[in-house]
């Protein structure tokens, strides 16, 4: 059986099923209870599980830090950070404790916490509501970073994240929350973390994209006069280098697309890995199509900032031109 769900509903379903399956799961975050979260991703859950769904006090350092304690005491915390930019307020707890509780206690304590957070631009939001800092989180050893791009991926990857024995930052693309519906497997359904997927097979050039940029990429390459292979890593860390490498070995060309700024973004890491794993297969310099190295502009300028279909297409054509 499969219901047609949007991403936001897939989140709700995954949370609902995990709360039902495992008594140790606790949901908390600003406004997740009575209103069901600002994006309604937790709608109704406080009614179904009043003892395990909480409106937290305000403060992300507190949310992450308290979650670490809950985890140490045997709970499975699933925290919502209302917008990814406010996870900066919890970053110290994430880096200094969540990510290293296991290693510092020699495995004695673990932190199986999932931090869900909407990210990314394109919804004409206020300042500080549009960043995509996935590379920053991926830079922290001990964390996992997951970015779904469809309802099915959301259900499978979120369920896997909650069951994962380590802390996971689960970044939900705000722009896609209600953008599409698709049949999503009901009941127990997981997708493995750390496995990329080939969304479209092709022979001429590989484009790597995730989250909302995957949608932009798919529309963009529709108009390209070449056989494009599109790879979606789904998990930013651990990153499935093998799948990307295999693809680039086949096509000889690579374009990485991301919303985040170019410098030290994930594109840099992917291209760097390809020089290690597929250097002699490269037929043209890898391309990056990314946000610019400026603070994410307010919404009057965000369309100019975000990689557009034209920019993706131009990047693909440059990769193909040599």
């Amino acid at each position: 059986m499969a219901n047609e769900l949007r991403i936001v509903e897939a989140v709700q379903q995954a949370l609902d099923e995990e709360l039902a399956r495992d008594d140790s799961v606790v949901l908390f975050g600003e406004d997740v209870g009575v209103t069901g979260g600002v994006f309604r991703a937790t709608d109704g859950l406080v009614d179904a599980y009043p003892e395990r769904v909480y409106d937290s006090t305000l403060g992300e350092s507190g949310i992450v830090g308290v979650g670490i304690g809950l985890a140490a005491a045997g709970m499975t915390p699933v925290a919502e950070i209302q917008f990814q930019s406010f996870l900066y307020q919890g970053f110290a707890q994430l880096v200094q404790h969540a990510a290293r509780l296991r290693s510092r206690s020699r495995g004695g304590f673990t932190c199986p916490m999932t931090i869900r957070t909407p990210y990314g631009g394109g919804i004409r939001a206020l300042e500080h509501h549009s960043e995509s800092f996935e590379a920053g989180f991926a830079h922290v050893p001990g964390l996992k970073v997951v970015v779904p791009s469809s309802p099915t991926e959301t259900k499978g990857l979120l369920t896997a994240s909650i069951r994962d024995p380590d802390p996971v930052v689960f970044m939900e693309p705000t722009r896609l929350y209600r953008a599409m519906r698709e049949p999503v497997p009901e009941g127990d359904y997981t997708l493995p973390l750390g496995e990329a997927t080939v969304v479209e097979a092709g022979e001429d050039v590989t484009v790597v994209a995730w989250g909302s940029m995957l949608r932009t990429t798919l529309s963009a390459v529709d108009g390209v006069d070449a056989d494009v292979e599109v790879v979606n890593p789904r998990t930013i860390y651990p990153l499935d280098t093998e799948t990307i490498t295999e693809s680039v070995k086949k096509t000889g060309r690579c374009v990485v697309v991301h919303e985040a700024p170019m410098t030290a973004g994930l594109g840099a890491e992917i291209v760097s890995r390809l020089t290690e794993t597929a250097f002699y297969h490269l037929e043209s310099p890898p391309e990056r199509v990314t946000g610019y190295d400026v603070p994410f502009p307010m919404f009057a300028r965000e369309e100019a900032y975000l990689p557009s279909e034209e920019r993706v297409r131009a990047g693909v054509e440059r990769a193909l031109s040599e």
Binding site: E30, D31, G33, V34, T35, V38, D55, T57, L58, G59, S61, G62, S85, F86, Y88, Q89, R124, A125, L126, E127, H128, H129, M262, T263, E287, R288, V289, Y292, D293, V294, P295, P297, M298, F299, A300, R301, E302, E303, A304, Y305, E310, R311, A314, G315, R318
Partner: protein, 362 residues
Amino acid sequence: MPRTTVAEFTVESLGILAPDGEVDEELVPDLSEETLRGMYRTMRRARRLDERAIALQRRGELGTYAPGIGQEAAQVASATALADGDWVVPAFREQAALLTRGTPMHAILAYAMGLEEGAAVGPDDRTLPPSIPVGSQALHAVGIGWAYAMRNEDPVALAYFGDGATSTGDVMEAFNSAGAYGAQTVFLCQNNQYAISTPRSKQSRAETLAQKAIGAGIRGIQVDGNDALAVYEATREALDHARDGDPVLVEALTYRRSMHTTSDDPRKYRQEDEEVDWDRRDPILRLESYLRERGILTDDDVAALEAELETEVADAIERAKGMAADVDPADMFEHAYGEMPPWLERQLTAFSGAQGGAVDGE
């Protein structure tokens, strides 16, 4: 040693103009008729701006907007107590305080249209841009207030934040460091009873938010936030203390009468009888009846003000729309660094090319 009490604290609350119109004449601050009329006028300007902004947002002409309807006394009266050289460090709902400080209406609207220009600051401005990360700005007010303390100068920084913000580490750090440094800072907490959907009662078990000052060793006082006279007086006293290096937390009890922001529906978490109850305590009507009773305000004045406001808001909207129409996206590159780094120059070049449909990347 037996168990003894080593310290005891009390929290004072101040009200001057009661909801039923009764006035404690002894406490009435010494304000000129002109100042009183000015406060009333700015409160009305702020209310009108917020109402129009909500309507504009509904028509898709504005982005998400956080109205301060119901909080006009807390903001306008506190900002009125400031001296010219003092600073305002706002959160994101402080249109009324900004208007009091002279920020033009069209700038507020431009910001809400997603234009950085709306937060542009002139060389003599002492108002920081809006701060959206909750509570983060309170520390900036400490830094500013400390700078003046170090230099033995008069100015004070007035930081605004909400009840929810008092749960954040930054705000608690701000209280503590302000006390430790003797910063010339006043914290104005607008306890409007909700942090989005979370009621004040769920935010903290503390009986008052004012008492959060006590743990930091600074003064805390509660004030009727819908009573412009009381807010003015409490802030004036707080500013006096702060000028001497004694920071103060003022908790203004008020109510956010409209939505948290235009993306929120308060019916999900609020009871109508509570809303009606607070409607009756409207800060503007309260000041208005006080001024009318004293003959400071007449029907003619109110009618004239209304007409004037319609024109002001309409002009401001036109001006902001003009700014939006003229927006140059390339200028997102201009202000990232004092001097544009070479790789950013290359991105800008590529950007300009991409705008014209040509190249991208390096």
